[in-house]
């Protein structure tokens, strides 16, 4: 089973985590067309590659960010939101 390293709790099997999807910055709702808003809400960057994703460690209730290669399933680094990208 895949290992993911929680920045607080250390390396754990992926079954201890909940996947939160790719980090997607929200456009300013007030200054975005309907079309672009729908694009934000529904569309995803479905192509494979290295992505920054949300992950949640269930037992401790910790959200963190992970940079992951979605083809090789390789986690390059993890960090807490708001902290320096290591």
């Amino acid at each position: 089973m895949k290992i993911l390293t929680c920045p607080v709790n250390g390396p754990r099997p992926v079954s201890e985590f909940v996947y939160g999807g790719e980090v997607r910055p929200m456009p300013d709702p007030a200054n975005t067309s309907d079309f672009d808003w729908a694009d934000y809400v529904f569309n995803r960057s479905g192509i494979p590659g290295v992505k920054v994703e949300w992950w949640y460690h269930l037992a401790s209730g910790t959200w963190f960010l992970a940079e992951r290669d979605t083809v090789a399933d390789r986690v390059l680094r993890t960090w807490l939101p708001g902290e320096e990208h290591p």
């Binding site: 089973m1 895949k2 975005t32 309907d34 808003w37 729908a38 809400v41 959200w63």
Partner: protein, 973 residues
């Protein structure tokens, strides 16, 4: 006790044998009694007893004997009671075993289905695609026929579920395969200080050191020395009888033994699983008596069974010569050695066999084997050109009861493939070998293309040291290992024969022509070939067939085996029982602290996610509907008590708490007064209603709110995530488990509560929708005046450890007022009468707030809330449906519609009932339904199609059905 000599094939004691001659085991096979020893396997004991037909093949039901003795003798699958598809070549013999061969019709000897062997000409590769569909009406007949003849073992439907506990385990280095290279690897890594686990699927370690002796005892001595080295290393755990069934990401390996699966997390993996000996392909190469040389050697050295009396050896490498010497040492009359190579064997073995008088025929092949009574009796030997063409002018017929084949090997590389290794075909060695290995994965020994014993040991040590160094252990730099130059595999161990029956895949009964024909039909790539012909799809997963299939396809395409490539080797390496995978089968469940009280009151449970909630409380002699109605009546006229502790509960603290709530809910909360509560609706970003609850403000900077039962975990999680982005100054605490909650409801609820609290319960001091913190029955409580069920009511939240005490106090005080506990079903009815929706029942995965009649709770004049922008878009798009209340016209209430019955207008679907129940207080069936917007106006009649197609007329009515002025929730007293 009958003498062991009852088994004529049993040899005198063989050094290193696995059997314990002091413990005999009685067993039966196909109704006949036999005897073996502890440490035996059925195939060995039966072979010793002279049994040659151990099973029948899958397609043609041909008799089959031993092939590999390496856990891919799939034609000798046996059944013992409920245990099906046991492999007779590896299953430990147990006292009392009553075995039968699988999938025979009338027993393995007289199998009536053997007639299929005569019909072979009608059954070409993929024959089932080519017939039986015309005429169409006959297909079900053919299908029934196929389902009768197909399949292997038979399930016993009375067999109980086995709970086999699984384990987790951890190691620095896992070594798979405890042959010479694996043992050497484990010793090297272990000496460097690594925590090593060494596994081998065989009952004992040693691999080829144990069975491939070449007629002397040197290898056995090497084995004992390595065993001693391992025993001296406490950090090396040696586990025979343990299969590495699959390699998964990050060195997560399924280790399967007789009793359980262990999930091992390693930091590095060394695959030293050796190689599978591959059959030569010639006519009747499946006759019992024809076997791989390694099988014969295992039979001799592990089980002390004489494989045959007179053996011909078909070979193309040194291993065949060693086998000849081993057989000779076991008293078998050996000869000739038929060497496919024109040049013959170049090592000293050639001289050794000459010395013992074994004839060698270089540049010859076996054209065909002939059998009598289902066993080998003769082989035909011809000179050949090494390319498949035999010179049949002067065939030499040799009478024999055994033919051992050693013409090639295929790497046991399944785990390497699973780990992502790239394998390349080495023309010189005629074998696929690792070309690129992922980090932390190593290969050693035969799987790495290394064959001679010294090299295998050196290669193992190299892998062990490399793994240890990678992990940071202090280990010397490994020496490089000189590659073996001789090919152990012949490039074309295949002799065609016009009459066929030259088998490539023994699992699936595939012959050479099947491959030619499949390729001719366009299935000329290895994956398509596999799918069309089913080569490698049988229980042995191609262990003895894939390599020859690749060679065949390569020749057909004029390519090299490397260009043809291999198919993907997916888990499992050998099949794994469901019970091992399932383990104990954990099913976590949650209980509110009041669970046992509900049980004591006769609760009938319903499942709500991980919770069991009381659906209603059974009163003996009454039907569910009566109980539900009475529970509801108690709430309407007296007092009831329901456990609502499964609701999600969240504490929210901090200066920005109000602002946070305004962002995540559709309503306004910054202006909520301390001591008051407000209904709250949550949307997702597409504007769909996903949750609701009640927000209570306990202090300026302290809110406490509820979520739905099923939404609890997700809502808490998502709120945490939002704030990870917004960084508002708040603290969020999940209080779902720590707080118990119960709703005391009904006109007499105040009287009950008043008896156990000093809190001023008057309307003035504690109005409807108010929240107070006070002691109730001595327990610190948060009390909310809520109206979900439409009566005066108090939702009381208390620390979970004290919930039972409070419940008891309420029930005790309530007794005088005939208090009744009520369940989810009564609550559903009561809230329906009040027109309150249940998210998930009266909404679905696409419901927008306006459709559910929640527009009043959506405050668009806020700067932002989740889903706001989407609500804006959807509102401009216009309503597609509308949730409305309805009641049935009294006359048609005899056939009551059910939830999810459809609203039909002019033959089209115009809506759906989401909730419906008979309401005693209304005196009619009432419900909620999604309707076309133009049907949703008050007074509009419409039809619901109920069970049996009965159309039931209903009419839209205003919500709520009960107490529209809301007086009941506010009654004073």
């Amino acid at each position: 006790m009958s003498a062991p000599s009852a088994a004529p094939g049993r040899l005198p004691p063989v050094s290193g044998e696995w059997i314990d001659r002091s413990r005999t085991i009685d067993f039966r096979f196909e109704g006949v009694a036999y005897q073996g020893f502890a440490g035996d396997v059925p195939s060995a004991a039966l072979w010793a007893a002279g049994v040659r037909t151990l099973g029948r093949s899958f397609k043609y039901h041909r008799p089959r004997g031993l092939l590999s003795f390496a856990n891919h003798d799939v034609n000798a699958l046996i059944q013992w009671g409920a245990r099906l598809n046991l492999r007779a070549d590896v299953e430990p013999l147990e006292p009392g075993m009553d075995l039968t061969a699988v999938n025979t019709f009338g027993g393995v000897q007289g199998d009536r289905a053997r007639v299929l062997d005569l019909l072979g000409a009608f059954l070409p590769v993929g024959f089932y695609y080519k017939a039986f569909h015309r005429p169409r009406a006959l297909f079900p007949f053919w299908e029934r026929f196929f389902r009768r003849v197909t399949g292997l073992g038979r399930l016993d439907f009375r067999a109980p579920r086995l709970h086999t506990p699984k384990r987790y385990d951890f190691a620095d280095v896992l070594v798979v395969g405890a042959g010479p290279s694996g043992m050497a690897a484990a010793v090297a890594a272990g000496r460097a200080g690594a925590r090593v686990v060494l596994v081998d699927e065989n009952a004992r370690i040693g691999g080829s050191l144990g069975w491939q002796r070449g007629g002397d005892t040197a290898s056995l001595e090497r084995l004992r020395a390595l065993e001693a080295d391992l025993a001296a290393l406490p950090n090396v755990s040696v586990r025979p009888g343990t299969l590495a069934a699959g390699w998964y990401a990050d060195h997560w390996i399924a280790l399967v033994d007789a009793v359980r699966m262990t999930k091992l997390r390693a930091r590095a993996t060394i695959v030293a699983g050796g190689a599978f000996e591959q059959p030569a392909v010639f006519r009747n190469n499946d006759l019992p008596g024809v076997m791989l040389a390694s099988a014969a050697q295992r039979l001799v050295h592990r089980y002390a069974v004489k494989p045959m009396d007179r053996a011909v050896v078909l070979t193309a490498n040194a291993d065949g010569y060693r086998a000849a010497l081993d057989l000779l040492a076991a008293g078998v009359s050996v000869g000739p050695i038929v060497d496919l190579r024109a040049e013959g064997e170049s090592s000293g073995l050639s001289e050794r066999v000459k010395q013992v008088g074994i004839q060698v025929l270089r540049g010859h092949c076996v054209l065909e084997a002939r059998g009598r009574d289902g066993r080998l009796c003769e082989v035909t030997i011809c000179p050949w050109d090494g390319q498949g063409n035999a010179s049949t002018a002067a065939p030499q017929k040799v009478a024999c009861d055994g033919l051992v084949m050693s013409t090639g090997w295929a790497p046991a590389a399944a785990l390497l493939y699973q780990a992502g290794a790239k394998m390349g075909f080495d023309e010189r060695r005629q074998q696929f070998v690792p070309a690129a290995l992922p980090e932390g994965v190593f290969a050693a020994g035969r799987v790495n293309g290394v064959f001679t014993l010294d090299n295998k040991l050196a290669d193992g040590e190299r892998a062990g040291l490399e793994a240890a160094r990678l992990l940071g252990f202090d280990a010397p730099a490994p020496r490089s290992v000189a590659p073996d130059l001789d090919a152990a595999s012949h490039p074309w161990p295949i002799v065609d024969h016009p009459a066929g029956r030259n088998f490539v895949d023994f699992d699936e009964d595939l012959q050479v022509k099947d491959f030619l024909n499949a390729a001719a039909e366009g299935f000329d790539n290895i994956e398509l070939l596999k799918r069309f012909s089913t080569v490698g799809m049988g229980p042995s997963q191609g262990k003895h067939s894939n390599m020859n299939a690749i060679r065949l396809l390569a020749r057909i395409r004029g390519a090299s085996p490397g260009e043809v490539g291999t198919t993907t080797a997916r888990p499992f390496f050998h099949p794994v029982p469901l019970s091992h995978l399932a383990g104990r089968g954990f099913s976590p469940r949650r209980e509110t602290p009041l669970h046992s009280r509900h049980a004591g009151l006769g609760a009938v449970w319903m499942q709500a996610g991980p919770w069991l909630r009381p659906d209603h409380y059974a009163v003996p002699g009454k039907r569910k509907s009566e109980n539900v109605r009475e529970e509801a009546r108690a709430v309407r006229t007296g007092v009831g008590l329901i456990d609502v502790g499964t609701l999600g509960k969240i504490e929210l603290y901090g200066p920005d708490a109000g602002a946070f709530l305004e962002r995540v809910y559709t309503g306004k909360f910054a202006n909520l007064k301390v001591g008051m509560t407000r209904y709250a609706v949550m949307l997702d970003e597409s504007g769909v209603v996903i949750d609701d609850g009640v927000v209570a403000r306990l202090a300026e900077q302290h809110f406490y709110f509820t979520t739905t039962t099923t939404g609890a975990a997700v809502v808490y999680r998502e709120l945490q995530r939002w704030n990870a982005q917004w960084n508002l100054d708040i603290g969020i605490v999940n209080a779902t488990g720590p707080f118990a909650a119960m709703n005391l409801a009904g006109p007499k609820s105040r009287a009950v509560l008043r008896a156990i609290t000093s809190l001023d319960l008057s309307n003035e001091a504690f109005p409807y929708l108010g929240v107070r913190q006070a002691e109730v029955a001595g327990v610190p409580a948060r009390v909310m005046r809520v109206g979900f069920v439409g009566e005066l009511g108090y939702e009381i939240h208390v620390p979970a450890h004290q919930a039972g005490h409070l419940w008891d106090a309420l029930m005790q005080e309530g007794a005088a007022h005939d208090i009744r506990p009520f369940g989810v079903e009564a609550q559903r009815l009561l809230r329906l009468e009040k027109g309150h929706i249940i998210i998930g029942q009266d909404t679905d995965g696409l419901t927008h707030p306006d459709e559910a009649g929640l527009e009043w709770a959506v405050k668009m004049d806020k700067p932002f809330f989740v889903g706001q922008r989407s609500v804006d878009i959807v509102r401009r798009r216009g309503l597609r449906q509308k949730l409305a209340g309805f009641r049935l016209d009294a006359a048609s209430a005899a056939v009551a519609p059910k939830e999810c019955h459809l609203v039909i207008r002019d033959g089209r679907i115009a809506g759906r009932v989401t909730s419906v129940a008979f309401s005693e207080v209304v005196g009619a069936h009432v419900g909620l339904a999604f309707l076309d917007p133009d049907l949703s106006a008050e007074g509009t009649p419409f039809f619901i199609r109920a069970d049996g197609g009965t159309m039931v007329q209903a009419r839209v009515v205003a919500l709520p059905f009960y107490d529209p002025a809301g007086d009941r929730q506010k009654i004073s007293g």
